[in-house]
């Protein structure tokens, strides 16, 4: 009986399982590559933000007004400057009362004045 079984086992072994599809190696490599890229991007953004934040330091009145973005209005005077958003947001979170003061002060320079001879409103009214 055992010999009979062994003979039949050998017959079954003449049949071989077909080879399966090739391993999707590209997919695995892509997954690893994507993970590394994502990790690198997160690290870069975190370090950049940290360095930028350290470089900025605590917000001062000087920080709150950005000279580069000045919108000169005819009667706004030499000190007219617009406010930059990020320090204002930070100030709003830390000291809302001071934010109010800063905005009031800034509005004197930014909003058009009616007093000057060449103010925007006067010019428009004449036309």
């Amino acid at each position: 009986m055992k010999e009979h079984d062994a003979q039949f086992e050998n017959f079954l072994r003449e049949f071989q399982p077909r080879r399966p599809c090739a391993l999707p190696v590209a997919l695995a490599a892509k997954t690893i590559w994507q993970r590394r890229l994502y990790a690198a991007a997160v690290i870069t953004v975190t370090i950049s933000f940290s360095l930028w934040f350290l470089h900025q330091g605590p917000p001062s009145h000087k920080d709150l007004t950005a000279a580069g973005n000045t919108q000169v209005l005819p009667d706004a005077g030499p000190a007219a400057e617009t406010l930059s958003l990020l320090p204002l947001t930070q100030l709003a979170l830390e000291d809302p009362a001071r934010l109010d003061t800063v905005l009031t002060e800034a509005s004197r320079h930014v909003l058009p004045s009616l007093r000057g001879n060449q103010s925007t409103l006067r010019v428009l009214a004449k036309e």
Binding site: F15, R18, V25, A29
Partner: protein
């Protein structure tokens, strides 16, 4: 034995060596060959990604991992067709050394008619080259139970494949 992570070349070699038998083994658990390949690929992709360390002799580990993946796949109902409902495909999972496609298809049909527990043991013994003790360990049964299942399976297969057997 110490566990270690495998290099991509080692994983590919293991796939070449064990892939066909592992897919055949997974086929004895899940509904069709596509689901079986999915289960095997899932394990090998994890090995390629270096997610899992494997023992020094990875054969037994691979069979256990594929068994779990195939059982999970079946439990999650990824394939709704049961093995018994599955039609015998025109292309057999087997290829015969004498290029006898009828015999290969007959074997596939006969294999599908076996109860799952017998099918599992016979695949492990014949195509994975395990001893009955190793097959019993993998299936979580005693060696006597494995031997009994194997004997019944051989009887049924012998009956079905008689016309194709020489001598």
């Amino acid at each position: 034995m110490a566990e270690r992570k495998l290099s991509a070349d080692e994983v590919r070699r293991l796939y070449d060596q064990h892939g066909p038998a592992l897919v055949m083994y997974a086929c004895s658990i899940v509904a069709d060959s596509a689901a079986a390949e999915d289960a095997v690929h899932q394990i090998f992709l994890r090995l390629l990604q270096g997610d899992i360390p494997v023992p020094g002799v990875p054969g037994a580990y691979l069979y256990r991992a594929v068994r779990n993946a195939a059982l999970n796949s079946r439990r999650n109902g990824k394939r709704s067709v049961s093995l018994e409902e599955q039609p015998v495909r025109a292309k057999s999972l087997f290829q015969h050394s004498d290029e006898n496609p009828e015999a290969a298809l007959a074997l596939q049909a006969a294999r599908l008619e076996l109860p799952e527990e017998q099918r599992e043991v016979v695949v492990l013994r014949i195509w994975s080259g395990m001893t009955l003790e190793e097959a019993a360990n993998l299936c979580g049964i005693t060696t006597n139970t494995a031997a009994s299942r194997y004997r019944y399976a051989l009887e049924k297969l012998r009956e079905r494949l008689k016309p194709f057997q020489k001598g």
